[in-house]
């Protein structure tokens, strides 16, 4: 298309790069204006959406060609809302970013169902385990796992999707920082793997650092890209509930993974269930929700992969192994919950000595039946 050649993309990148630019202001500037025209108008101080000429002087110091080169060198594609390459799911969405930066291939989203797997950054071992299992099984079933590359549930879902191996659907991340600013730092490697395999998307300019406001804002993009949103673990008032809310406003089904009512990390998700969200236990439950959602929109349900029907494995809902036969080990194992259980609680429940409890738990950890933390255990 000649309409959005390199000049238009460079102008869009330059607009995005202006200091003080926000997604809302950018949408205003590009409303009825092609990027190159908007750029000249902003520069000349004649753009009707910028009556205060807020951006005029900054624009005069910026060369779109140079900005465009900088984005290309960083491996970032600038996608305009009505141009090829822009995710089809976002077209027509009221909150869609008018300019989207992409590293990798956002084309993986086309012709495949997508499911957002999101949740708290301070996940429990239960949350990370469920997220990674969902990520792996959904990717293996040909579903693009969309998440935010944050700590905790997000990272576990992405790692799970990448671990599904060749032939699985690649994951897509929507991040709050610039597409070239891996955040948190510890997820650098994961970030690169997601970008190489699928795509990392951002509506922020290159180099945008982590700011509290940007994360709830990008959650609407995560929701809009997805056929179904799954919240794995969330505190009451947690950020992933923004994603659930954004999905609900778009009539996108929200599913939640049930958690212990005693676990604070599940207060948000259990609250969603009380509010009527669909409970999901594993990828098979999620795929059912995806099929229903896509049928509702007149789209093809996800194709089963592997051989024949029922190809999606039911999640392993049983404990890691048979309970231990040793009497002391068994009573310790029975005293430990699926959520972190402190030594004090185990002592009160078993009436055993601390040395008996710690010795038994050493064996149970070695046997893979318990996970040990700092002064607590939980069932593996």
């Amino acid at each position: 298309m000649t309409r959005d050649g390199p000049d238009q993309r460079a102008a869009a990148a330059a607009l995005l790069d202006l200091p003080g630019m926000t997604p809302v202001r950018l949408a205003g500037l590009l409303d009825g204006f092609r990027p190159a025209l908007a750029w000249s108008a902003v520069r000349a101080g004649t753009h009707p959406a910028d009556p205060d000429r807020r951006f005029a002087s900054a624009a005069r110091g910026l060369d779109p060609g140079e900005v465009g080169r900088r984005y290309r060198q960083a491996g970032v594609d600038v996608l305009l809302v009505d141009s090829p390459g822009y995710p089809a799911a976002l077209v027509g969405d009221p909150g869609a970013p008018v300019v989207l930066c992409a590293v990798g291939d956002p084309g993986v989203l086309e012709a495949r169902p997508a499911v957002a797997v999101v949740g708290t950054r301070s996940a429990t071992p239960y949350g990370t385990r469920v997220a990674s299992q969902l990520g792996r099984d959904l990717a293996a079933a040909g579903v693009v796992v969309v998440s935010g590359l944050a700590r905790g549930v997000d990272a576990a879902a992405h790692s799970g999707a990448l671990a599904a191996g060749p032939g699985a659907a690649p994951p897509v991340a929507v991040v709050g920082t610039g597409a070239d600013v891996p955040y948190p730092r510890e997820n650098r490697m994961l970030w690169d793997r997601v970008a190489r395999s699928g795509a990392v998307l951002s509506e922020a300019a290159l180099g945008t650092p982590a700011r509290p406001r940007v994360f709830p804002a990008r959650n609407r993009i995560i929701a809009a890209l997805s056929d179904v949103v799954v919240v794995v673990e969330s505190h009451r008032g947690g950020g992933s509930l923004y994603t659930a809310e954004a999905a609900a406003r778009r009539a996108i089904p929200v599913c939640a993974v049930p958690g212990s009512v005693l676990s604070r990390a599940s207060t948000g998700t259990n609250g969603l269930l009380v509010d009527g969200c669909v409970p999901v236990r594993d990828a098979a439950d999620v795929l059912t929700a995806v099929s229903l959602a896509r049928q509702g929109k007149g789209m093809a349900p996800p194709a089963p992969v592997g051989g024949g029907g029922g190809a999606v494995p039911r999640g392993d809902r049983s404990p890691a192994g048979p309970p231990p036969t040793d009497r002391v080990q068994r009573s310790v194992w029975e005293a430990v919950d699926d959520t972190p259980t402190t030594a004090e609680t185990v002592l009160l429940r078993t009436d055993l000595s601390l040395s008996a409890v710690t010795a038994a738990s050493e064996e149970l950890v070695a046997a893979g039946l318990l996970t040990a933390g700092a002064g607590w255990w939980c069932r593996a």
Binding site: P340, E344, A356, S361, A372, A374
Partner: protein, 184 residues
Amino acid sequence: MVRVSRARGSVTYPARFLLVAAMNPCPCGDGGTPGACRCPPAARARYVRRLSGPLLDRFDLTVRVDPPAADDLVSPGPGEATAAVAARVAAARYRARSRGVMTNAALPASGLDGSVPLDGAAQDLLERHLRSGRLSARGLHRVRRVARTVADLGDTGPIVGAPEVAEALFLRGSRALLLGEEGR
């Protein structure tokens, strides 16, 4: 001992002390158990990073103290009498003195094989922790001394077994406790 050296000479003071310290696991105070704390992970990491690893490695006993349940505050159950605990401690100290030290913490490292003989299971357990990097060389000696005291308190005899070593290892989990490290 503490030796203070100045231009005109040096003075040596006796110094034998027991360092007892307390801190919160994170700024909000609810940390320690994953999922309970709402502190941003970065704030939490900053909070515990103020204590260096080598310093933490010198704490032999770390006990997590969770907030008491409301019921326990309103109607506390019967606890063990202080006199009974004191008698147990006195008996343990007596056993330590028979080894020529006031407390097991003063047992010389060179003589640990004699003063803290381990059975096979206890040795295997220590080896497992050493090989996985969860236990430092300094920690090894300290765990053996603590295990000796656990055995003395429980009056389980001269040979120290896996349960006593497991308890000593558990009590030592200080760094992991403070950093809120994920399960292993």
